[in-house]
Symmetry: C2
Subunit: 206 residues, 2 copies
């Protein structure tokens, strides 16, 4: 993938979308300049997850924006998504790469400096430094990196970097100044009254 595709990275969250249609939110976000979309689902049946993935793939195709599936390599294969995003408790990278082949995008969450260093031994396509700040979106996260930690992580890694955790209009510029490729947002777009405008405003800050 091109690192500039990481610039404004939307991670979906249906509960934080307040009952609004996820396809609508995603399309609005992309019209506003979102460069990559990760479908994250923790409660859907596999069949519903696949059906939603297929719908989002159709939504994104005209825009050329990649669709990434969180955790579930089976869903990614079923919908022929552009890749997966895996955390440290998901499928190990080497197995995911074997199942997905060399051309799919594989992103990896790194939650401390040891994991940043370990990821240098893997051919992941990007790392997501998580979390930069504490966030109400995820409560099971590691201690925050802060901007100093983000800067050190960006210097240590050999991969493109996206920052996640507490990224919004107030924090985006400071994070980008740490030498990263993009920011990943959840509520800053999913919960925004106007997701398209929210994406556009974020992009203008980056």
């Amino acid at each position: 993938m091109r690192p500039d595709q990481l610039r404004l990275y939307l991670v979906t969250d249906r509960p934080l979308s307040f009952g609004r249609d996820l396809e609508w939110i995603v399309e609005e976000a992309v019209k506003g300049g979102t460069t990559i979309v990760q479908l994250r689902e923790k409660s859907l049946d596999t069949r519903e997850f696949i059906e939603l993935g297929l719908r989002l793939k159709r939504t994104l195709a005209p825009y050329g924006v990649p669709l990434i599936i969180n955790d579930r390599v089976d869903v990614a294969l079923a919908v022929d998504a552009d890749g997966v995003h895996i955390g440290q408790s998901d499928m190990p990278y080497e197995i995911a790469r074997r199942l997905l082949g060399p051309d799919k995008i594989i992103g990896l969450s790194v939650e401390n400096m040891d994991e940043v260093a370990e990821a240098n031994a893997l051919d992941v396509d990007y790392v997501a430094v998580s979390p930069v700040y504490g966030t109400p979106t995820k409560t099971d996260t590691a201690p925050p990196f802060g901007l100093d930690g983000l800067k050190r992580a960006a210097a240590l890694t050999r991969h493109p970097v996206v920052a996640i955790g507490g990224m919004n209009r107030s924090t985006a510029s400071g994070a980008m100044a740490c030498g990263i490729d993009g920011i990943a947002v959840v509520s800053a777009i999913c919960s925004a009254p106007e997701p398209q405008q929210a994406a556009r405003e974020l992009l203008n800050l980056l």
Copy 2:
């Protein structure tokens, strides 16, 4: 697969195993004559699920007993299991077959006569008629088939049949008399004080 491999089908359930080691229960069950094992996990992280699958695969290999993964085609691929068991809300059969290839076992749960008929259009390796009786193991199930329904399902399907739901020492013989290939049990083995003996006693009834 050979239909006789369905004769005594263990579906794992950690909560119903009362904290006892699942590998021990599975190995005891197989020593007692269990012919196939399905690993069913609904709460583990993907990585833990894969690690448990790999351990069970090593446990079963010396006995030549197939390991089937419930729902998760990614886990089945990661551990190179013998196949998957899918329900009506899991990955559609055609996609699972495409991802797993022609040689893996794919079993399908059928919960009413329409689904039994529809499964005749698919090259599944077996169908699991579910549930024969109401059961405390699963509370989200369809209305029970009963023995009459099981007999009609066995007559209608072109596939090998395993019966699930309320199968134990009291019900096993009656189910087998309906013209099926085997019974699937959860608590009758997982919750038994002596899983090996429980399996042996069940097998003697079949």
